[in-house]
């Protein structure tokens, strides 16, 4: 299948107006025409270039995923469920202060810090707290600045927009923390589908992915929190414990507020996420998510499960082990299988929704 690169208007019709925009930021900061504002991509002015990078890099425009994976990973490592697996670990940051400022085990912060310290990268792009619950990508050059940025707000941070901004400057070695959709957009950039400024992607050195079930719509979540009487300013963190709890926990300055998950899903879930087939961020060097341990959630939430996909990923993990940056937990039996099953379940649900919506479109 040949991928036709279309224009801004087609991008709008095929992606944004079809509610498939993930908010990844890939179409932003390439040009002045697209702007990221309050959880949405805004088309400021029309651009009449026929084949745009905006269209080419969007994770929701057509691409053959198998071809893309074969191009970017060792074929022998590929699994149909969760992409390439070079290693699978349960880890946490050895530094307790890193863990405190992180969502779970602090593995991502520890690895990014290590990559900066070892000069594997010179720029780390991570999510930064913006106004309200909104996040934005920020570029950091010092490991110390990475601390306390690991808490999830479940709103997508358009980190690729920040990558595009940094890549314009040139001559960098960039590491970035991404969601699955963002990992796909970077993978598409790596295939250089449009010659203009194609070399910028060569600055991308390290990609660390986050496991992702879905992201929430900023607007809908803000409304929900308002209804629950939570002031956004008081929020210190949020989490969704394993599925048996069916809860969104909001940690505030005045204690934890439990919101039943059925108020969140599907009402507040970003529409585009309902059609996403990737749970483990398959186009990364390393992907990290929450752990499941026999000790139960209270212990498990202090750890991460880690999939290593590339040589660079392996090198970084080995370095972290030898330097004592990460602590390693025994991998409970069946954890990889459970992860694969969860991933397959997300793929199946998304594909069912895609075919159902296609059928609905055909009927109308």
């Amino acid at each position: 299948m040949e991928n036709v690169i279309k224009d801004q208007k087609e991008l709008r019709m095929e992606v944004r107006e079809s509610h498939l925009c993930t908010g990844c930021g890939a179409c932003v900061n390439l040009c002045p025409y697209q702007i990221y504002y309050r959880d949405q991509v805004i088309e400021w002015h029309p651009c009449d270039i026929k084949s745009g990078r905006c269209y080419a890099y969007c994770p929701r425009t057509p691409v053959n995923l198998d071809v893309l994976k074969a191009e970017l990973f060792e074929e022998s490592l590929l699994t149909p469920e969760i992409g390439a697996i070079k290693g699978f670990y349960v880890t946490r940051a050895a530094d307790i202060s890193i863990r405190k400022g992180a969502q779970h085990g602090g593995t991502v912060t520890a690895l990014m810090s290590l990559a900066l310290q070892e000069r594997i990268i010179d720029t780390a792009i991570v999510a930064d707290k913006g106004q309200g619950l909104l996040s934005q990508g920020v570029s950091l050059n010092k490991a110390a600045d990475l601390k306390n940025r690991g808490k999830s707000r479940f709103i997508v941070s358009p980190n690729i927009a920040e990558f595009n901004r940094q890549a314009q400057v040139g001559g960098k070695k960039i590491g970035i923390v991404v969601t699955p959709c963002q990992s796909l957009s970077l993978a598409k950039m790596r295939t250089k589908p449009v010659p203009t400024h194609a070399e910028r992607i060569d600055q991308l050195t390290l990609v660390i992915g986050l496991f992702c079930g879905w992201a929430l719509s900023w607007e809908m979540l803000s409304l929900l929190l308002g209804r629950e009487g939570i002031d956004v300013k008081d929020i210190e963190g949020m989490d969704i414990p394993p599925s048996k709890y069916q809860l969104l926990q909001v940690y505030t300055m005045n204690g934890t507020v439990d919101i039943p998950l059925d108020k969140v899903d599907p009402a507040c879930v970003r529409e585009a996420c309902r059609y996403c087939t990737d749970m483990t961020a398959e186009f990364t060097d390393i992907s990290v998510g929450s752990a499941r341990l026999p000790e139960g959630w209270e212990v498990a939430k202090g750890w991460n499960q880690v999939i290593v996909r590339t040589e660079l990923g392996e090198k970084l993990i080995d370095l972290a082990r030898s330097k004592g940056i990460l602590e390693f937990h025994d991998i409970p039996e069946g954890n990889l299988e459970r992860l694969k099953n969860a991933s397959i379940s997300k793929k199946r649900t998304a594909l069912e929704r895609i075919s159902a919506s296609r059928a609905a479109v055909r009927e109308t």
Binding site: C31, P32, Y33, I35, E43, S51, R53, T196
Partner: protein, 644 residues
């Protein structure tokens, strides 16, 4: 010394139609002039204001046309002579007072000059003031050349005083703005003293109060005046006939159309077959005069602009006299010979005349027209109306458009009349979505701002200029605040009535005669009225846009004043704040990543696309050095350097 003050009688001068009107008023001994700027009328008050002190006149730019007519009327009530010029839609604004003024009558000569704009060359309508004369029952005069513009104005004062009624003198763009030779008459010493006598009997027109009631008493008097005027008009030297005694076709016309008709007759060599009856007194029409000329022909062509005003009234007379003069064939608007809208020109009249008379008219070979069109389409640069280089409105609408896009709730702008009306087209990023009369942007927005109960959640913006703010925005502002409409008013404050030539307005500390005047602060007015007010410089793109986005999320009436002096203002003209340059290394031109963002989207005439080099360049001759393109360029290729 202004040639308008020339004392030598019988000298001829080249005068613009509006200047001829001014000279006529001076020869009539005018004392007071008040108006509101509006093309094509502005030069009248403008010229008078410059000579006011020398001639002992009082001249003002009033806040709007209704007030200007009230100010002029007061002078008349005090037995002075007063002139009140305005553009066509100004008569609409003044019409409420005018209706009552026609009924109450006047004392000193009072002439309302309306300069109409058929074809809407500098208007957003082609409304006609002629119909007001009939509707409100006042005499109407229309000069057919520049000499008449002067002579008729002078006579209008005399007529006004004779019948004690306001007289309307109507010009059109081509009469007001074209120039011709005018022979001067004497300039009188007026020496009139202002005194308002009102202690007489209530029904006494000379000494009693000036009121429109009792209507049952006053209306017949007013109609009696019109009857008297009709008799006077029968003998008026401003109604002229040229042509054969018995004609194959009679053209009846007035105003600038006289010139077009005369030219058409000449071009088709029909002077011995076609008669030209030019009317200067067009309401009420003199029936005996018309009967006399209608009797000399069987076919009549009426040449006039826009609606069939003359045509219908001539037809009434023809019908009334049909028994004696016989049935006539009429050509004009109703049969489609002459278009019902737009401006006329000699070509249109030639076409009509050639059709009726069966005289072939081929001034150019048909291929010529085709060739000319081809050349125009392929070789002429594609230029549309746009804001001047350095115009604050371009920056303002850049910000407004961006704020609306970011807000993403399909918000829109309600606009009114000013240079900023161009924001309805790509020059202003097509941001204005409703466009009507002065002040109606906020009035309409005030209505939109109450529709949330019907599910409307689009943010509503209104724009107005600083002069417009005083002219007609205050009442809708009161309305919007009182009714808690959700509206953001953006006042585009460029420090003057810029579009018509920087006439002062109440927001400035100077008046029409150049004297110091207390200025009214728009921000303070809005604040005390209860609006949330912010002031920004539109050239500060980021701050303006983010303020707007914030205001749009708030409820009630918010006012954002965007303050930046017009690029053409006398204080700014020629002075550049920044010297602009393009870094050709950095300019990425047509590539993905820019796609000529500056020249294709910002579209400042000072920033030009070099087709050969495929780079932007600054046209230093017209660049006003505002510097905003530097903020707009995504590559930092437009460099600004402060001029010291």
């Amino acid at each position: 010394m202004s040639k308008l003050l020339e004392k030598k009688i019988g000298t001829s001068h080249l005068l613009m139609g509006n200047e001829a009107i001014v000279r006529g008023a001076l020869e009539a001994g005018v004392n007071v002039a008040a108006g509101y700027p509006g093309t094509p009328s502005s030069e009248i008050v403008e010229s008078l204001s410059k000579i006011a002190k020398k001639m002992g006149l009082y001249v003002e730019w009033s806040v709007n046309e209704k007030v200007s007519l009230e100010v002029a009327a007061a002078a008349s009530f005090a037995n002075l002579r007063a002139l009140c010029p305005m553009k066509q839609n100004g008569v609409n604004v003044a019409s409420d007072f005018l209706l009552h003024l026609a009924l109450s009558g006047i004392r000193g000569g009072l002439v309302l000059v309306s300069c109409d704009d058929p074809g809407a060359l500098s208007s957003v309508n082609e409304g006609e003031s002629r119909h007001f004369a009939r509707l409100l029952e006042i005499p109407l005069l229309e000069p057919g050349n520049f000499q008449e513009a002067k002579d008729m104005t002078k006579w209008a004062f005399e007529l006004s005083e004779e019948i004690k009624s306001v007289v309307m003198l109507r010009s059109v763009t081509r009469m007001s703005h074209a120039s011709g030779s005018v022979m001067f008459g004497p300039l009188p010493e007026t020496g009139r003293k202002a005194y308002f006598k009102s202690d007489g009997f209530i029904l006494d027109l000379e000494t009693g109060p000036v009121i429109s009631a009792p209507v049952g008493y006053r209306h017949p008097i007013q109609q009696g005046k019109i009857k008297k005027v009709r008799e006077i008009f029968e003998e008026s030297p401003f109604n002229t006939y040229e042509g054969p005694e018995i004609s194959d076709l009679l053209i009846i016309t007035s105003s600038a159309c006289t010139l077009y008709s005369r030219e058409a007759i000449h071009l088709l060599c029909l002077a011995d077959r076609v008669g030209l009856l030019k009317l200067g007194t067009t309401w009420p029409l003199p029936p005996k005069l018309l009967k006399k000329y209608l009797a000399t022909t069987d076919k009549i062509l009426i040449v006039e602009e826009v609606l069939p005003f003359l045509e219908e009234h001539v037809k009434v007379i023809a019908a009334e006299e049909a028994k004696e003069i016989g049935a006539k064939t009429f050509y004009g608007k109703n049969d489609g010979t002459i278009p019902m809208n737009g401006e006329l020109n000699p070509d249109i009249v030639v076409k009509a005349l050639s059709h009726i008379m069966g005289v072939p008219n081929e001034p150019m070979a048909p291929e010529y027209e085709k060739k000319a069109q081809l050349v125009a389409f392929t070789m002429a640069p594609n230029r549309e109306q746009t804001f001047c280089p350095g115009c604050p409105h371009r920056a303002s609408f850049w910000n407004i458009h961006k704020a609306l896009q970011l807000d993403n709730r399909q918000g829109f702008v309600c606009g009114d009349i000013g240079c900023y009306s161009m924001a309805a087209i790509p020059a202003g990023f097509s941001t204005i979505r409703t466009l009507h009369s002065m002040g109606s942007g906020l009035g309409v927005a005030s209505g939109f701002g109450k529709l949330d109960m019907f599910g409307m959640n689009q943010p509503v913006l209104a724009v107005c200029g600083d002069s417009t703010f005083f002219h007609a925005v205050l009442p809708p502002l009161v309305n919007a605040i009182h009714h808690q409409a959700n509206v953001t008013l953006v006042v585009l404050d460029n420090s003057g009535t810029a579009m018509t030539g920087f006439q002062p307005h109440p927001g400035l500390n100077v008046d029409a005669m150049g004297d110091k005047a207390p200025n009214l602060d728009i921000a303070e007015i809005c604040r005390v009225m209860g609006a949330n007010v912010e002031i920004r410089d539109p050239f500060n793109l980021e701050a303006t846009q983010s303020t707007l986005n914030q205001l749009m999320t708030e409820s009630g009436v918010k006012v954002l004043i965007l303050r930046q002096v017009c690029a053409l203002s006398p204080e700014k003209k020629g002075k550049k704040k920044f010297k602009m340059q393009i870094d050709k290394e950095k300019c990425i031109g047509t590539d993905c990543g820019c796609n000529r963002f500056c020249t294709r989207i910002l579209r400042c005439p000072g920033l030009v696309w070099d087709k050969d080099e495929k780079k932007a360049w600054i046209d230093e001759v017209i660049c006003a050095g505002c510097g905003i393109c530097s903020d707009v360029c995504p590559s930092g290729a437009i460099i600004r350097e402060e001029v010291v």
